[in-house]
């Protein structure tokens, strides 16, 4: 027998099932392909976004700006959102790789930190093509015990720990690493000399090279990632490198509890600040979904979750009240206003400058 109650239940069940099916079918149609740096998000953010919008996120990671740039320059990468760093973004905008953001769709843009926006506009005028995801500095990572063992009152907050040959010589045996990235290292040496870090003048660059040549015998390796594990397990005691990577080494060392204490300091002479910017490639297929994702990331509580997870500062002022105190009050992550005023950006570019800079760098590294 068919009671009306059972009938109703069946009807509702099938209605729910079909609604679910359609929602799913619709969701399956909508995807967004995100290409971000490795270890750079709290994965629950992606799951939450998928749940809220029904848009499937294909989240893929890279580990160097060069790799990202090559994919972008080749074209048809298939990505809808990518995260290049400032100077790379600037050049890629010029090469016509990105499309302008539709700011009417980015209703949460008001949460952005105007101070950061002002600086990123040096790479992306009016921030027309990108939003800031995370930012950080290039400074000094050191192993507290090993450095203090070798130098009395080590100047860990100054470039002179590395660039003064007297200091470098004392640290040579415990391992000095320097980023293999001339756009980071040459400006640091220029800043140390009190010259313009963006100088394109060949004499200035030569002076910076001389700074490196004097300490070159004491540097174990120029490499852009090996220092992380080397610092964490005590194979290195000094690295000129990116803040986030050194903080990662710091966390790994404290987890391992191996008697190594890694510290990070922003040099008092002034350090370079870098920005990872989210942008939409001009050949992106899911532009609508990409905007929805960017707008989601601009929500204060969402980006705060990412910051709490990866220990990087973000460019979202409203998010700061959701950020853990230990992160927000860590001057290695969120520098004090005084230190902030001393940071500089590197915006010099052009093929001739790049070639000269890289050639100088190769000469420093190989002596050839």
């Amino acid at each position: 027998m068919f009671s009306s109650a059972t009938y109703k239940k069946t009807l509702i069940a099938s209605a729910v099932a079909s609604a679910f099916f359609f929602a799913n079918a619709q969701g399956a149609d909508r995807t967004v392909n995100v290409y971000n740096w490795s270890d750079y998000i709290d994965e629950s953010i992606i799951a939450d976004f998928e749940k809220e919008t029904g848009i499937k996120v294909n989240y893929d990671v890279f580990d160097s700006n060069e790799l990202l740039e090559t994919k972008m320059l080749t074209g048809a990468s298939g990505y809808d959102i990518v995260t290049p760093s400032g100077a790379f973004l600037k050049r890629q905008i010029k090469a016509g790789i990105f499309q302008k953001l539709d700011k009417s769709k980015l209703t949460n843009l008001g949460n952005a930190w105007d101070q950061i926006q002002k600086v990123t506009s040096a790479y992306d005028p009016d921030n027309a093509y990108s939003i800031n995801y995370m930012w950080g500095t290039t400074g000094i990572g050191y192993s507290k015990e090993k450095v203090e063992e070798r130098i009395e009152n080590p100047p860990v907050d100054s470039y002179s720990l590395l660039f003064d040959p007297a200091n470098a010589a004392k640290l040579a045996d415990c391992g000095i690493y320097v980023l293999d990235a001339p756009t980071e290292t040459i400006p640091a040496a220029l800043q140390y000399l009190g010259l313009d870090p963006n100088s394109k003048d060949k004499d200035d660059i030569k002076k910076a090279a001389e700074v490196f040549n004097k300490v070159k015998p004491f540097i174990r390796k120029f490499h852009s990632s090996e220092f992380i594990s080397a610092l964490a397990n005590g194979d290195a005691c000094l690295a000129l490198a990116w803040s986030g990577d050194i903080l990662q080494a710091r966390d790994r060392a404290s987890e391992a509890d191996n008697g190594v204490t890694v510290g990070y300091r922003i040099p008092k002479e002034g350090a370079q600040v870098w920005f990872d910017q989210m942008a939409i490639p001009s050949d992106a297929k899911n532009v609508e979904e990409a905007h929805l994702f960017l707008n989601y990331v601009l929500r204060p509580e969402v980006i705060a979750k990412a910051t709490n997870y990866i220990n990087y500062a973000n460019g979202n002022l409203a998010s700061q009240k959701f950020i853990d105190k230990s992160v927000l009050e860590d001057p290695a992550i969120y520098p004090t206003d005084k230190v902030m005023s001393n940071l500089f950006t590197h915006t010099a570019d052009g093929p001739k400058y790049t070639r000269h800079l890289n050639r100088t760098w190769t000469r420093i590294k190989t002596g050839q």
Binding site: A95, P351, R359
Partner: protein, 303 residues
């Protein structure tokens, strides 16, 4: 019947030619084309780009804009020939070391009772089951200052200060010899296994010394294997990038690293293409010369 073309046969012969055409000649042609172009801030990052809408005229404008500027640049800066020379040196020495280590292994394998040989071949191939990158990375753990090797040597009292091996050229040699050893052992084993060892007995019976027997009989008969093994090691070692990057020091100059820098740091695809073309030329010339020599030898033997 006589004039009928055997299409099956033609198709079979065509396969390797098509393979070479599509997977070697065509890509190489596009690399040559890129090496004659100029760098640009665009997608793709070089100019001129062929515009199919303009047809033949487009092709002509394309060709007329080609020049040898990038090759000239390679002659102006000593970095490039120094890199080539350094790669040549590292590849040659590595090949010699690999041969010196690989030959006794292969010879030993060939002399083992036949029921053991399959297992030994298996053991030579076994490392390929792990990623090449991870195996090279493992050497960092062995060679570093507080690594396995130094700790063991200090423990046994052989040294009291750790040796600096990692981040030097020595580590690069170790990495290349280790990684390419199977490519030397396998062709060597294949030829050594086929040698008729009764020839050795005959030589020894006739009063030839052990050493001389080896030089006069084994080495000449193993020559094809030695040559094949040396090429299999030398050619990839010449363009090696990963091993010098992970194990070598910052001052290790190799053409693979220079090419990487041109491509990724300078973003100059045209110049890096020119470096690649020259590298290929430098590798092809000795191979062709060698083949000519071998053909000549075969003819002489045939007469």
């Amino acid at each position: 019947m006589k004039n009928n073309v055997n299409w099956g046969r033609v198709a079979l012969i065509a396969i390797p030619f098509l393979w070479l055409f599509f997977l070697f000649l065509l890509p190489f042609g596009s690399v040559i084309k890129m090496s004659l172009s100029d760098m640009a801030t665009a997608r793709p990052p070089y100019t001129p780009v062929f515009n199919s809408e303009e047809g033949i005229i487009g092709l002509w404008t394309l060709i007329s804009e080609f020049d040898l500027e990038n090759y000239l640049l390679l002659t102006e800066d000593e970095l490039y020939w120094r890199s080539y020379f350094s790669s040549l040196k590292i590849a040659t020495l590595s090949t010699i070391f690999t041969l010196l280590i690989g030959f006794p292994i292969a010879y030993g394998m060939a002399k083992t009772p036949s029921q053991w040989r399959a297992t030994l071949v298996m053991l030579i191939i076994l490392p390929f089951w792990t990623s090449f990158l991870i195996r090279v990375y493992a050497w960092i753990g062995i060679l570093k200052q507080e690594g396995l090797l130094n700790n063991a040597l200090i423990y046994f009292g052989i040294i009291d200060q750790p040796l600096v091996i990692l981040n030097t050229d020595i580590a690069v040699y170790i990495g290349i010899v280790y990684s390419y050893l199977p490519f030397m052992v396998l062709p060597l084993y294949a030829t050594l296994e086929k040698i008729d060892y009764s020839l050795l007995e005959a030589a020894l019976d006739l009063g030839c010394s052990q050493f001389k027997t080896f030089w006069v009989i084994v080495v000449p008969l193993a020559l094809p294997g030695i040559i094949a093994g040396c090429f299999l090691v030398f050619i990839p070692a010449m363009g090696e990038f990963v091993i010098p990057d992970l194990l070598g020091g910052s001052s290790t100059l190799m053409i693979g690293k220079t090419l990487w820098g041109e491509f990724f740091n300078n973003r100059d695809w045209p110049v890096s293409s020119a470096v690649a073309v020259i590298l290929l030329m430098l590798l092809i010339v000795p191979i062709v010369l060698f083949q000519k020599m071998q053909e000549k030898e075969l003819k002489e033997q045939g007469q």
